[in-house]
């Protein structure tokens, strides 16, 4: 395990506490009712989830989001469709409250139209990292107030889904650059977009090559290996890690297949069913993001990424945080601060990634 990481696990079941003798209880006390109390409280307060989708135009990011949450997340026409390619990267954020069986979820989706679309894409990741850091900053400011709110609104990005174009070869330099930077600041889940253009064998080969690329460049995507707590987690997460990146297809159109109404894409040679495991791995992505690991994503963001940001922030003493923009008293050119995340991850192994650190 990397000794430079913050801690073995964000939700360690081994708290540092005095030696406690285990006690035998002779009868029923009722301690387990505390779980119900927790549930009631959580349902009353509601949940928050912030997701960001990053990728080039036309890879189906917006459609994917709509498919994930089975609703028209984008009110007006989907950004990017029919509109001219924006000159600079603009992040668009939209918030919804969705409810299912009494559970309220406040969902915020951030899109990045214009990413990687310019001729010169140098430093095109700066707005994204700037946005992520801005959310951390906002939370930090709320946290260090004297009179704090009861519940600090959480706008930090919990998960970033990165769409890899289905070239079938390997990760491109732009992908690698961005992933390296993103992985240090936020949980990243890469997916192969528009996977209906690849056959199953091509998909597998592509996946293996991508995994190989990620290993070579020491990019740790979610679920990170170092946060596995116990053997069960490791087994479960290994299975997921084996299938990352998922090959997904998104759609918001419904068609009739075998008498059932399914989401899919209709082509001349057949209908690609989104929720069919034989066709694409959309279900795996949905289960990972929503059904099984949502809380874990939030925990890792809060306990690891946010804490790393906080450490870096509090160690810098020459930047005044309040104000309309960053007031940087150090003699470096002002601009969106580059991710000061846990840059210690695999630093020794990396040979080509030292351009962020000279800012600090």
């Amino acid at each position: 395990m990397d000794p430079l990481r913050q801690s073995p696990s964000p939700c360690s079941s081994r708290p540092s506490s005095p030696k406690t003798p285990p006690c035998e209880m002779h009868g029923y006390v009722g301690i387990e009712d505390v779980l119900d109390q927790l549930k009631i409280k959580a349902m009353k307060m509601g949940f928050e989830f912030n997701i960001m989708v990053v990728g080039q135009s036309g890879l189906g990011k917006s459609t994917m989001v709509s498919t994930l949450f089975k609703s028209k997340v984008w009110k007006c026409t989907l950004p990017g469709r029919g509109m001219p390619i924006p000159q600079t990267l603009q992040l668009k954020s939209v918030t919804h409250v969705i409810e299912e069986k009494g559970v309220k979820l406040k969902l915020t989706v951030t899109d990045t139209p214009g990413f990687g679309d310019q001729i010169n894409n140098d430093k095109c990741w700066d707005p994204i990292l700037g946005y992520i850091n801005e959310q951390y900053e906002r939370y930090l400011q709320e946290e260090i107030l004297i009179t704090r709110q009861r519940h600090i609104p959480d706008t930090r990005v919990h998960c970033c889904v990165y769409f890899v174009p289905p070239t079938g070869h390997c990760l491109r330099p732009l992908d690698i650059e961005l992933l390296q930077r993103l992985c240090r600041t936020v949980n990243v889940v890469p997916v192969i977009a528009r996977a209906d253009s690849l056959t199953l064998e091509e998909r597998e080969a592509f996946r293996r090559r991508i995994q190989h690329n990620l290993r070579t460049h020491c990019i740790e995507v979610y679920p990170q290996k170092c946060f596995d707590e116990d053997i069960n987690d490791r087994i479960l997460n290994s299975k997921i890690r084996d299938r990352i990146p998922f090959a997904v297809v998104g759609s918001d159109q419904e068609y009739l297949v075998n008498g059932r109404c399914v989401l899919g894409r209709k082509t001349k040679w057949g209908i690609i069913e989104v929720e069919n495991m034989a066709h694409c791995e959309f279900l795996l992505l949905r289960d990972l993001l929503i059904r099984s690991h949502l809380q874990d994503l939030k925990d890792i963001t809060h306990n690891v990424h946010y804490e790393n940001y906080r450490v870096c922030r509090l160690n810098e003493s020459h930047v005044l945080p309040r104000g309309p923009c960053w007031v940087n008293l150090a003699p470096t050119p002002p601009g969106p601060p580059v991710a000061p995340g846990p840059s210690k991850v695999c630093r020794q192994a990396r040979e080509d990634s030292d351009d962020d650190e000279d800012d600090y």
Binding site: C76, I98, L320
Partner: protein, 473 residues
């Protein structure tokens, strides 16, 4: 309209407003699956384990340990404490309890020696200090740069069970005073201990009296929350039963064909878990089954935040600066740091000046001393010289005298020999001596002189012949 957040950054308040306008409900066309979210949360909590800290405040022997044993259905190893402690102390013990898949780290803090002293003025202070110390520890951890809050063993007191003596009359002054000083720091649940002493009728009156006293003194005890529909009703009814009249016992007595926890008296058996006999079941239900989570939340969001706010304001941090502009912690840190830095510089300068001054003074003193010593030395030297010269002078004189004496001696001997030759015999000499006193006198004088010269001769030059040799040719 979706919000545009363009880089480098955006106005904070503007964005908030836009987001608020933006948030609207969305209907989904199918099952997404995030209803499992509470379960995910619960699973995470199970993995982490729970932490609960109870503080028991009450006189020695009022039944605190027994009640805790009964509440948690175990025998926490504890022995009777003495009544003779000079000060109130707090003793904390942590236990780990398991029930199905829930792990609870329970910490029981007992006051030892409460109410035993003759002068009880200082009795409540250790309790307040202990609670503050736990808050302080948490605050320190939270303010650290490299912190690990998820790993932190939370030792803040979540609930304080205050044991009231079953006198049947009213609250004691000590109780009032202690509760008043604790009510803003911890959730207080008052209980009437050893309630089997009081009869039912007396109990009702006692409870009413106690509650009215608490209300009139402005003591804020913990109210069970009534905002959630599922538990609002039961909580509201329980609020009316406060303070709970409890009986604790781990001894079992056979009633009917069951073994129940009870206290056996000659006149009957008081069953602990019988609702008619005591409110123990209500207490257990409220404390553990229904409101444990709420107690923890209140401690964290109300009492701890209050402590934190007071502490930070004490240290000089504020949220609003001198011109009512929002001031951040960072700015305050910076300002304070500059201030301290300047102060330190100033002090350093001062000390330097003082040091230089002292050195100068010391140098002057030393120079002065040196000069004095020099003068003394000169003076002594001079004196010594003078003495020496005097001595030399004396010596010279003495030597001259010696020479004079020896000369005289030589001449007198010559005269003596001459006179011997002239007279002829010794006898005659004697007679003559008698006859001729002048001659005799000369001889005596010569003898005396010879002795003197013999004595002096020893210091004078050697080699000179003695008087006996004188006269021999």
């Amino acid at each position: 309209m979706p919000t545009k957040t363009t880089c480098p950054s955006s106005q904070v308040s503007d964005d908030e407003q836009k987001k608020r306008e933006n948030t609207r409900s969305l209907t989904m066309s199918g099952h997404v699956g995030f209803e499992s979210l509470p379960d995910q949360l619960v699973n995470r909590s199970i993995q982490q384990g729970f932490c609960f800290n109870i503080l028991c405040v009450g006189e020695t022997g009022i039944g605190k340990s027994t009640l805790i044993d009964t509440l948690f259905n175990t025998n926490f190893a504890d022995h009777e404490s003495s009544h003779f402690f000079p000060h109130v102390r707090l003793k904390a013990q942590t236990y780990e309890l398991h029930e199905s898949n829930v792990r609870l780290k329970l910490t029981i803090v007992n006051t030892v020696g409460f109410g035993d002293q003759i002068n009880k003025e200082e009795s409540y202070q250790p309790v307040v200090d202990y609670i503050d110390a736990q808050f302080e520890a948490y605050l320190q951890e939270e303010l650290k740069i490299k912190r690990s809050l998820f790993n932190y063993h939370d030792s803040r007191i979540h609930v304080c069970l205050y044991f009231i003596s079953p006198t049947g009359h009213s609250l004691k002054t000590l109780d009032l005073l202690t509760m008043k000083s604790l009510d803003s720091k911890v959730n207080i649940i008052p209980v009437i201990a050893k309630a089997d002493i009081i009869s039912k009728a007396e109990l009702q009156k006692f409870k009413i009296k106690l509650m009215s006293e608490l209300v009139s003194s402005g003591v804020q005890i913990y109210q069970f929350p009534t905002d959630d529909e599922t538990i609002a009703k039961i909580n509201a009814s329980m609020n009316g039963h406060l303070p709970f009249a409890v009986v604790g016992s781990m001894d079992e007595v056979k009633i009917g064909n069951k073994m129940v926890k009870a206290r056996q008296y000659p006149w009957g058996v008081v069953q602990v878990e019988n609702e008619n006999h005591s409110d123990f079941v209500k207490l257990r239900e409220m404390l553990i089954c229904t409101n444990m989570e709420d107690l923890r939340e209140q401690t964290h969001t109300r009492h701890y935040e209050l402590y934190r706010r007071c502490k930070l304001e004490e240290m000089g941090f504020t949220d609003v600066g001198p011109e009512n502009k929002p001031l951040s912690l960072q700015e305050t840190y910076e300002a304070k740091r500059h201030e301290f830095y300047g102060e330190r510089q100033r002090k350093e300068e001062e000390m330097k000046q003082m040091f230089v001054q002292r050195v100068k003074e010391k140098k002057a003193i030393l120079k002065e001393a040196e000069r004095e010593l020099q003068a003394k030395f000169e003076h002594l030297k001079r004196v010594h010289q003078e003495e020496r010269m005097k001595l030399e002078e004396k010596r010279r004189l003495l030597e001259e005298e010696i020479i004079a004496f020896s000369k005289k001696k030589a001449t007198s001997e010559i005269y003596q020999n001459q006179s011997y030759m002239a007279s002829g015999s010794n006898l005659k000499k004697d007679k003559d001596r008698k006859k001729d006193p002048g001659y005799r006198f000369e001889l005596l004088c010569f003898d005396v002189r010879a002795c003197e010269i013999n004595g002096g001769r020893k210091d004078a030059e050697e080699g000179r012949e003695g008087p006996c040799t004188m006269g021999w040719p």
